[in-house]
């Protein structure tokens, strides 16, 4: 493994910070009920999107889930358009048609987001098939949770991707819960990486709160693709700090044990990485403060943009049911 450059290490922190601060801003603003869309927050899992997407070019394609803000931000899409989408504005990334769960940004390889558990895995696999058929160099990445491993699409897609040696990385964010159902009541073991064996591909288990570990694992998976060997499954073991949906924690409602949450919060992916950065003198406290300032400034701009943007006109209800353009005549 080559040494990771300091600039990349800083960038990893920046991406995690941007996701964290963005989500915290959503948490802060959500109670005013101006964002009329169910938000599935990513706080606690930031290292995964940041670590994987740091290795991707804008041409590389990702598919995400209902818990998608982190991937959208890490892939480099505009948070102005994200915030506007949360506010249901016509300037939103999906013109106010998608809401929080259906983000899109084709310019950076986000070709839409499915909120049906496991279904995006098949779409990413299909993107990889197109890439292979066209002889392109780019890759596809599927982000999904442990709940998706319950679904047939996970297994069907892994089978096909391995069979055809497709350029796709399967990134499972194992936060141990599908809504409020613990993995122990859904799967015979929680060792998701082991599932890869059945499909004859490598399965890597990695600490989902360790951004450098994730970065290195993703790099290995991409190198395998470049060598023409096909997909890898990476299981990132992590924890979401908020409830399945909405800005609150859920232990008060008895959804999860309080102690479990606090044990995981002690392992905050940002705090532990910050300590690493300080220890290795990659960044100092004032460097971090500058970063926070820059990120907050961008987020405030996004909020202003979203709040000031107009709502869609009522007539737009009927637009886009069918694709209206004519770009698609056959050759």
């Amino acid at each position: 493994m080559n040494k990771i450059q300091a600039a990349v290490k800083k960038q990893l922190f920046y991406t995690m910070l941007k996701i964290r601060r963005f989500e915290e801003k959503v948490t802060e603003l959500y109670p005013s009920q101006d964002m009329k869309t169910p938000v599935h927050l990513y706080i606690g899992q930031e290292a995964i999107a940041a670590g994987v997407c740091a290795l991707l070019c804008k041409e590389d394609i990702i598919f995400s889930t209902h818990r998608n803000h982190g991937h959208y931000i890490a892939k480099g899409a505009s948070i102005r358009f994200l915030m506007a989408e949360l506010y249901g504005k016509s300037s939103g990334c999906s013109s106010g048609k998608g809401g929080s769960m259906h983000l899109v940004s084709p310019e950076v390889g986000i070709l839409g987001t499915s909120a049906i558990v496991g279904s995006g895995i098949a779409l990413a696999t299909g993107a990889a098939l197109a890439i292979k058929m066209n002889g392109q160099k780019k890759i596809a990445v599927a982000f999904f949770g442990d709940g998706a491993v319950d679904e047939g699409t996970f297994h069907e897609s892994m089978n096909f991707a391995s069979l055809k040696k497709l350029p796709v990385v399967f990134v499972c964010e194992n936060n141990f819960y599908a809504t409020n159902s613990h993995i122990a009541v859904r799967q015979p073991h929680d060792d998701i990486a082991r599932r890869a064996q059945g499909y004859d591909i490598p399965g890597i288990q990695v600490d989902g709160n360790d951004v450098l570990g994730i970065y290195k694992s993703a790099k290995k998976a991409i190198e395998r693709i470049r060598a023409g060997k096909g997909p890898t499954l990476i299981e990132c073991r992590t924890y979401r700090w908020k409830g399945h949906v909405g800005p609150e924690c859920d232990y008060e409602k008895g959804c999860r044990p309080e102690k479990e949450l606090y044990d995981w919060m002690k392992r905050c992916p940002l705090e532990s990485y910050k300590k690493y950065l300080f220890k290795n003198k990659i960044i100092n406290q004032s460097g971090i403060e500058e970063m926070v300032k820059a990120v907050d400034c961008e987020i405030e701009d996004a909020v202003r943009f979203a709040q000031k943007s107009p709502f869609p006109a009522k007539e737009e209800l009927y637009d886009d049911v069918y694709y209206a353009g004519s770009k698609d005549a056959l050759d």
Partner: protein
């Protein structure tokens, strides 16, 4: 016009058009020829489905194509309808033009999540930024005890879904022209074939041409009753028309060809002329295409109706296996004739 005519049998064709040197091929051959032409024309197009490159080749409709274009472009697949549909959608989103073939329409039910939650909604959910140009061919079977899971005509389920287009060509000419239009369409198109029309012959030009999605056609002019017939029922309606003629009953046959979007104006125009409507569908009644067309007519042309709308369709039961029960299950020429007469004699 040679391309609008329906030929009930080969002799019928040979006694008319073949004499003038016009080429006649079967519906099955038309599908095969069209896919071959499409694969040749555009490298984004590929075919996938269970058994597309086996020796049978989906009842002959893909026979030999893998040999001609390779197994990557005519791709046999794992028996995993839902993920493979998602994979085809993912490829379509990334610029490919997949044609997904299902030997039986019943198997589409395994892929409903990807068809309805994804293909149908992607353009809308992305605010028009990412469209899904996919064609899903599926085949309705019938007879020989195919029974409840190998014969269903589920077109009405798809008619209910915004974002999908649904075509049901009845003639070889339309099978070719609509398949080309469907593949060229930027939206997901469910392309439904009835296996009982596979051997029907008709005029099919060898070159590439299009039949527009969303346009129906009048198969037979008549003044007494409008019969809207889809897919295989078009042939039953033609047979009924010939018999009714001898009783001095003159029916007009409208073949919608596309059932979503439905060519409502064509149906309403015919109804304004005849005032009586029989709908002949290949699916079940409740919540079905027949009920939908009736609703359109009651909503938009109630005052034109001289009699209640008649719907000839399958009863609300699963498909039985025994030949005796099958016989009781499937309507055809006789049922259409009876409905036409009821419409005429209604007070």
């Amino acid at each position: 016009m040679p391309w609008t005519r329906v030929y009930i049998n080969k002799d019928d064709f040979e006694n008319t058009l073949a004499r003038d040197g016009l080429r006649g091929i079967t519906y099955r051959e038309a599908l095969r020829e069209t896919q071959s032409a499409l694969l040749k024309k555009d490298k984004r197009i590929f075919i996938l489905g269970e058994g597309v490159n086996d020796s049978g080749g989906i009842f002959g409709t893909t026979a030999g194509l893998a040999k001609e274009f390779g197994k990557d472009r005519v791709m046999d697949i794992p028996v995993a309808e839902n993920a493979l549909t998602g994979i085809a959608i993912g490829a379509a989103i990334c610029g490919m033009r997949p044609i997904f073939v299902h030997m039986r329409m019943d198997f589409l039910l395994m892929a409903m999540d990807q068809i309805i939650n994804h293909a149908a909604k992607w353009n809308y959910m992305t605010g028009g930024r990412v469209n899904v140009p996919i064609v899903i061919r599926s085949i309705i079977g019938r007879g020989w005890g195919s029974a409840a899971q190998h014969s269903q005509a589920l077109h009405s389920l798809f008619v209910h879904i915004p974002g999908l287009k649904v075509v049901m060509p009845s003639t070889p000419y339309d099978a070719k022209g609509l398949l080309i239009s469907a593949v060229e369409d930027a939206n997901p198109v469910i392309f439904i074939e009835h296996r009982w029309v596979y051997d029907y012959i008709g005029y099919v030009p060898p070159d590439v041409y299009k039949v527009p999605v969303g346009k129906g056609i009048v198969r037979r002019q008549g003044k007494d009753v409008t019969v809207v017939a889809v897919s295989q029922m078009v042939y039953e309606a033609i047979k009924a028309a010939d018999s009714l003629q001898s009783e001095n009953i003159d029916i007009e046959i409208v073949d919608p060809r596309t059932i979503k979007p439905l060519d409502e104006e064509l149906i309403l125009d015919s109804l304004r002329k005849t005032g009586r409507l029989v709908i002949a569908d290949v699916g079940c009644k409740t919540g079905g295409l027949g009920s939908h067309i009736a609703a359109v007519v009651y909503e938009k042309a109630f005052s034109c109706l001289k009699a209640p709308v008649e719907i000839v369709c399958l009863p609300d039961t699963p498909t039985p296996a025994s030949p005796v029960l099958e016989e009781a299950y499937y309507p055809g020429k006789e049922e259409i004739m009876a409905s036409v007469k009821r419409a005429i004699h209604a007070k």
